[in-house]
Symmetry: C2
Subunit: 413 residues, 2 copies
């Protein structure tokens, strides 16, 4: 099936700053995609620190197991990504194949095996053919460094557009870059649509602090999106800090979590992570609308997120949004089916600027006509106040359309 | 929207036996449906015992609160059902209205208020207009007793066919009837598609034993179905036992849970409950296939059910089934995203008679062509063995089709 670019895609791939201390290469393995590069490699200068996060699923792909183990060392020399085959549910042979790809890389670059990170995305249950893959990895190392746009394109599977984001910040008067690329065609699923996200920065940052910042950033980015509630076996976020913008300029590295300069870095990092995550939702299969479900007045942010997720994952809410129907009864139902705390008499629901539910009843000034008009936009905000606390959380999702069914029912036919 | 009869509907409404000790009436309130009866009342002879179960949601409709309270008395004189307005999220006024309908009924029939059961189904957030509803209730009491088919039709909302099931068993040589009717247009949701099921028997059975049997029966019927994972504010199962087939024939009532004659009764009851539940799935919005997900080899039946539910609710699995695609990768994903116990190396998956996954890998004899052919049937069995225990459980669901989206996106437009 030939997929058209999502109507929610940004017009162009963004202009991204350079990140010092890394070189990227792409190549064609011709395993699944005959006409495009499907291998991405990134080689880092020494002392690059790495942080990451992986799928919460119980069935985990071989490359994820490999990365999880290596992450303990906290250092990275190379990242190797193949698109087309997920190397998931492939047993011991799958694990051996991942190790062979990493082993070739470590020998070629003359680095430790544990400094190599491998990621795979694509169909489940198939083995990666080693010969063409290794050949392509080798040739990617020999290319001149490619752009982030080319890198983002090489990791795509069913994505309809490449995803990138970046920020430059000044630390002690010098430019520091934070850039990310991602793939994941909306549906966070195992079959050709795993989510992968890679963040690169030339800041010098200790691995433990970096990991803490990534964990914090996840809450409002990759852990705050849902397309269909399904979870992949391969989902991976990896973040690399080369340190070269600070080392070479003789700027003091971040001293610790209390370093005042870290706030700026954290904000830029969270911007990039949130932007990438939202691009994944914008590429949701069949998506015509980007939807934010913002829940406030909860007893905890975890509780707010559970309610937001229940609303965001309800097929009834998602189809109503597809039809621009302010069907608040379905939102009430999705809140009501959770086990979370809320006060039925204090619930407040706003759709855009339209107050819909107030003190647990239909708002007096509610206008179905105005609310329906707002819902014809391609970006929708639904705010829910549970009336029992001060905590809040957002989930971003997309609508559920006939095209989603068409794509997923016809996928392998 | 004019909905065509589901392709999974039975050809005809079944022939059902009479149940002694009850009279049914229907009438038109003309509140939401102008051309058809939308009120059902049932009047029971004295000493009718009642058991029931209600929605697990936190936001609960007024009639459900009323029934829950009355159920403690264990006796029933009347059941009153209106279709068109759910009386949910209607606040104190909604509770008063339910009480007024019940109060009229208790005065008219000269019975206790707590022996009246009221059920509502339809749109959320609107109040029941009392005058036309009470008028229709009154006229339904004055009609001659109607058939179960007419009764099943009067409680429909977006259902495309009336749902009924029944069995006759012999206890001490005499006929005992168990009959049920239900509504719920597949989508177990608050907006015109609540699930209601009513069981009637002329057996004489103590309320406590009856409640136990209903609870047991639920596990393999109304608690084992899912269309879209959404839960209604009004879901209700009520079961009435008039006792008249045994009292009049001077058969000893069931003595207790150890009564050997109870097994036959329980089997018939479970047959009726399972049959009604499956009819609800067969009327799932846009459904083209009835699907059973049977999970065995689990550490407990609760664990098996959680895995089955994860597979049954996965939009990716459901769309693959719609496309007759044996996409076992998606089944693996849906198992893997649960927190339940399983052994990745022992997982076995069968689709119909086709062994797909064996010892955690693609089965050697697996034929995609044969499996695809099987999946073109309108009734699909997917069996999953988790390889860690002896417990099992089934969930019944339907496929997710473009028509589901069309129905739910256009619903109020």
């Amino acid at each position: 099936m030939n997929l058209k670019k999502s109507p929610l895609a940004p017009e162009n791939f963004p202009r991204l700053p350079l990140v010092k201390g890394m070189l990227m290469g792409t190549a064609k393995s011709q395993v699944k995609y005959k006409k495009r590069d499907d291998i991405l490699t990134v080689v880092f200068e020494k002392n690059t620190s790495v942080a990451g996060s992986f799928t919460q699923a119980q069935i985990i792909a071989a490359p994820v197991l490999f990365c999880k183990k290596n992450l303990k060392s906290g250092k990275a020399k190379a990242l190797v990504v193949n698109a087309g085959i997920a190397n998931s549910f492939t047993g011991r042979k799958g694990e051996e194949n991942t190790k062979k790809l990493a082993s070739f890389t470590s020998k070629f670059l003359n680095c430790r095996l544990k400094d190599v990170y491998t990621c795979s995305t694509g169909v489940i249950g198939e083995q990666i053919p080693l010969r063409p893959t290794i050949k392509a990895i080798k040739s990617s190392f020999q290319e001149k460094s490619v752009s982030f746009e080319s890198a983002a394109k090489a990791i795509m599977t069913t994505d309809t557009f490449p995803k990138g984001s970046g920020k430059t910040i000044k630390i002690d008067g010098k430019d520091i870059s934070i850039v990310g690329i991602a793939k994941g065609s909306g549906m966070i699923s195992p079959n050709m649509a795993t989510m992968l996200a890679f963040i690169f920065t030339d800041a010098a940052i200790d691995q433990k602090i970096f990991q803490t910042l990534i964990n914090l950033g996840l809450r409002n980015s990759f852990n705050a999106i849902t397309v269909d509630g399904d979870t992949s076996t391969n989902d991976t976020v990896l973040a690399f800090a080369t340190g070269k913008a600070m080392e070479n300029e003789k700027i003091k590295p971040f001293s610790g979590i209390g370093d005042a300069r870290l706030r700026k870095f954290r904000e830029a990092l969270e911007y990039v992570m949130n932007d990438l995550a939202l691009q994944i939702v914008r590429d949701g299969e069949g998506a015509q609308k980007l939807v934010e479900i913002k829940v406030s007045g909860a007893v905890s942010s975890a509780s707010a997120k559970k309610v937001a997720r229940s609303v965001a994952n309800s097929p009834l809410v998602k189809t109503a949004i597809a039809g621009s129907d302010p069907n608040w009864g379905r939102i009430i139902m999705a809140i009501g089916k959770t086990k979370e705390n809320f006060s039925e008499n204090k619930i407040k629901i706003k759709i855009g600027k339209n107050l819909v539910i107030h003190n647990g009843a239909l708002a007096k000034r509610y206008s179905e006509r105005r609310t329906k008009k707002y819902m014809r936009n391609n970006s929708i905000l639904i705010e829910i106040d549970l009336g029992v606390g001060d905590s809040q959380s957002s989930i971003w999702t997309c609508d559920l359309t006939e095209k989603y069914i068409k794509i997923n029912a016809d996928y392998r036919s």
